[in-house]
């Protein structure tokens, strides 16, 4: 079906989200809480757009608004631009410590905050991606805590989380670099818990926590005869293929 975005016509499938269609066609809509691996939260509201449908217009989040009829979309109308600027201002007042947010702020020409009280060190914008990622991987070691203005992400009782396997997926998925991971001398520290790291049997580099290894072996049933880091695993797969080809060619 057809959809008009910023006065241009595009093809969309029934039920497809506006954001996906826009991105496919090179139209940039900023996002924070959207990730291809854990989509569909609609919490940061940065991706708002204006939709005209059946004579009505409304503001929706493009990451979750399904195209089911003839609609016109404006991704950067004056109103959207104004509100997006306000959202970025609010995010920047919340998490002034994040480089990513600083960049967004510059991009939208938002002046230094002088009206609100800010915590310079804060980096988290509470998009919730870390919690979703942890849930998806199955350890569910962290969650959102409290509600309203005091909401935050934390492990149970704000102690080193017992269910954490130290995989650091939360940190990887975080758009604002708010989750600290430190690695040194065969140890990884995340959420104030220290994990022992295991070495790659091929290159000798530390790359996985013992808990993560056990989890993959026991819970996911992944064959872990050789303990290979990603790089070495790719290399080894390539080598195996090469030898296979050689055999076939002979």
């Amino acid at each position: 079906m057809k959809v008009i975005i910023d006065d241009k016509e595009f093809e969309a499938e029934y039920g497809e989200y506006i954001l996906d269609v826009a991105r496919r066609n090179g139209i940039h809509i900023p996002t924070l809480c959207h990730s291809d691996t854990v989509p569909g939260q609609g919490s940061c509201r940065l991706c708002i757009v204006e939709v005209y449908e059946r004579g009505k217009n409304k503001v929706v989040v493009s990451c979750l608004y399904p195209i089911t009829g003839e609609i016109k979309v404006y991704t950067n109308s004056e109103k959207i631009h104004r509100m997006r600027r306000n959202i970025i201002r609010l995010l920047a007042a919340r998490a002034p410590g994040s480089e990513y947010i600083k960049k967004l702020k510059e991009e939208y020409g938002i002046p230094e905050e002088t009206r609100f009280i800010v915590d310079e060190k804060e980096k988290c914008v509470l998009c919730g991606l870390c919690v979703k990622a942890c849930e998806k991987l199955g350890s569910m070691a962290i969650s959102t805590v409290n509600r309203g203005a005091t909401k935050k992400v934390a492990p149970p009782f704000e102690e080193p989380p017992v269910d954490c396997i130290g995989c650091a997926s939360c940190a990887h998925v975080c758009p604002t670099g708010a989750i600290e991971v430190r690695e040194c001398k065969g140890k990884r520290v995340i959420w104030n818990r220290t994990f022992e790291l295991l070495k790659c049997t091929s290159c000798g580099r530390y790359f996985i926590t013992r808990e993560q290894y056990e989890y993959m072996k026991n819970r996911l049933g992944i064959d872990m005869k050789e303990l290979l880091c990603d790089r070495c695993r790719q290399k080894s797969t390539a080598e195996k293929l090469v030898s296979l080809y050689k055999k076939l060619l002979v």
Partner: protein, 608 residues
């Protein structure tokens, strides 16, 4: 029977709603019951005692009604019980001093129905409350209860039920006023099973207790409505989500469900119709956001009450992703009456677009505070000055707040506004669930806006940016203004943030959160300016911007203020003019409250 002479009965209804209970009505009920039990047989009258739900006139509780004589007693105390029993119950005498005193005419009124408070009301949702014992299913049946269910199950098809509700024009009583029949039709069209019906009893608006009273006082009306709705849409399971703080409501609804099962109105093959339904009570966890439908459903599922993005309606994907009809307590309670009396009758009440009646909790600085039900379209003036009897005390009317934290403050100039869904929205407020809080000139409108934002900043689930961060920052600004730290550009900033919070928030909580701020800026901008520019709180509420002075021309030197001042800040001699020491004064306002000559005046911030 057996040729025996029928002994006349006298029914005594003791109000045991929360308001009256707080004033010891249970003890009155027990004492009357004991006295009745002691009565030897062969007495000319049999007293029948009933503990009922809330009568509405909580202000004058505890309340007792005696039928069939139709005698209405207010502010009854335990020490009155003997006299009431001997004179009124046994003999039918009226005890003049306990009768209701009409605020405007100053006359005592014998029957509740003749009181100014009751006369203009029209009861549909509250039809049985105060008249029946909510724990007794037979009381409900005696007043026509479960007749509508029989009619629906045996004389109507589900389609006919839906079209009856559609034609009645019933709109959801929980807030936004979504057409109930349309919602039911959407759900019935969906071919996905199981389906659910849910009753939203998580009444959380501060200053509102309509749903509480219905669940406590007439739980079967809600249950019957739900069974009819479930039959119409094809649901086989229902949930009643009740705020946990409402322990009496939880108890009464649970008991009513149990009794409905025993009588065969719930469970398998209801009354042999082949239709089955189970209903369960779910206790809320204390989160205002759970009044939002998708958050409420998450809570029923045993999760944190965060709403989800709702581009697909709950009637398609609701509880556990299945089609769900969610209506509020009052909406469900209206359903049986519409089925019994018909859509034409119902739609003849109210205005063109808002049919039927609406229950309000009329509270704040008004004489007759309590629970009322009026036809849609009655003006605010008729409600506040007619039924409510006007402003309590010596204050002057300033505003009425409707719709709770999602609503707004309506000024005196709009008092002739008819109360219906659309008029209130047009004025920038909303119907909401029915809280109506009257404010006088001693209420600071900036502080009221601050109050609601504080409430919302704590009650926001915190999921989406505009609501969590926007409300928090708006609150920061308002706190500054109330503390005398406001800046000239703050009003602009509040308006700009309001737009973003209103338009970009995920759920209804955020989308309506700026209303209290927007309406107070719109109608009471001068108060904002007084705070910001003159560093003065005209109502004398914001302590940092208020000092009290004794006007020497008005002071009669009675010394009352000095005696009552908790800080000992007032000095003077009897017969002479008194003075307040600004260094000691804590601005508690006691002096202003007690002065009989209006000599204590509000001034701006005390000069350092």
């Amino acid at each position: 029977m057996n040729g025996m002479v029928q002994v006349p009965r006298r029914t005594v209804l003791v109000c045991c709603g929360t308001g009256c209970l707080a004033n010891n009505s249970m003890e009155i009920y027990k004492k009357l019951k004991d006295k009745a039990a002691e009565l030897e047989s062969g007495f000319p009258v049999i007293p029948v005692l009933k503990a009922t739900g809330c009568n509405g006139l909580c202000e004058r509780g505890p309340i007792i009604q005696v039928l069939p004589d139709d005698i209405f007693y207010c502010k009854v105390s335990v020490s009155d019980v003997d006299e009431i029993f001997e004179r009124t119950i046994l003999k039918g005498d009226v005890i003049e001093r306990l009768l209701y005193l009409d605020a405007s005419s100053g006359k005592r009124v014998r029957s509740f129905k003749e009181s100014e408070f009751y006369k203009k009301q029209f009861k549909i949702a509250l039809r049985n409350i105060g008249q029946i014992d909510p724990a007794c299913i037979d009381d409900y049946i005696e007043r026509g209860g479960y007749e509508a269910l029989k009619k629906a199950l045996f004389e109507m098809s589900p389609e006919q039920v839906i079209s009856e509700i559609e034609r009645s024009g019933l709109r959801g009583r929980g807030g936004a006023g979504f057409p109930t029949g349309y919602k039911w039709r959407q759900c019935s069209k969906t071919n996905d099973f199981p389906k659910y019906v849910v009753c939203n009893g998580d009444e959380g608006d501060p200053g509102a207790f309509m749903d509480r009273s219905i669940m406590e006082g007439d739980p079967h009306s809600v249950i019957e409505g739900m069974i009819i709705g479930a039959y119409a849409v094809g649901a086989e399971k229902g949930f009643i989500y009740i705020r946990d703080e409402y322990s009496l409501a939880v108890r009464n609804v649970s008991k009513a469900i149990e009794d409905a099962y025993i009588r065969g109105y719930l469970g398998r093959d209801i009354m042999g119709s082949g239709f089955s339904l189970d209903i369960e009570v779910v206790r809320g966890g204390g989160a205002f956001v759970c009044g939002e439908s998708t958050a409420l459903m998450a809570s029923i599922e045993g999760r944190v009450g965060e709403p989800r993005v709702k581009y697909i309606r709950s009637t398609e994907k609701g509880l556990w992703g299945k089609p769900t009809v969610l209506n509020n307590v009052e909406t469900w309670a209206n359903v049986p009456v519409i089925i019994t009396r018909g859509a034409e009758w119902f739609s003849s009440i109210g205005t063109e677009k808002s049919k039927g009646t609406k229950v309000f909790s009329l509270v704040g600085k008004v004489k007759n505070t309590g629970l009322i039900e009026v036809p849609m379209g009655m003006t605010l003036r008729e409600i506040i000055f007619g039924i409510g009897g006007g402003i309590a005390g010596s204050g002057k009317f300033k505003a009425v707040q409707t719709g709770g934290p999602s609503g707004g403050c309506i000024p005196e100039a709009l008092l002739d506004l008819p109360v219906d869904f659309d008029s209130l929205s047009d004025a920038g407020s909303m119907m909401g669930s029915g809280g109506m809080i009257v404010m006088d000139d001693r209420t600071c409108m900036v502080e009221v806006a601050r109050y609601y934002l504080k409430f919302l900043s704590e009650e926001s689930c915190g999921k989406c940016t505009p609501c969590r961060e926007g409300i928090r920052r708006m609150l920061e600004v308002l706190e500054d203004i109330c503390a005398g730290e406001g800046r000239e550009e703050d009003i602009e900033l509040l308006l700009e943030l309001s737009e973003t919070v209103k338009e970009a928030s995920l759920c209804g909580l955020g989308k309506t959160a700026p209303n209290p701020v927007l309406t107070t800026i719109k109608y009471f901008k001068d108060e904002y300016l007084a705070h910001i520019k003159e560093k003065r709180c005209p109502a004398g509420v914001c302590k940092k911007l208020t000092s009290y002075r004794i006007n020497p021309d008005l002071c009669r030197g009675c010394s009352l203020c000095a005696k009552r001042c908790p800080a000992g800040a007032i000095s003077g001699k009897q017969g002479k003019i008194y003075e307040i020491d600004q260094g000691i004064c804590t601005v508690c306002g006691t002096c202003r409250e007690v002065c009989r000559f209006g000599a204590v005046e509000v001034a701006g911030r005390a000069t350092e």
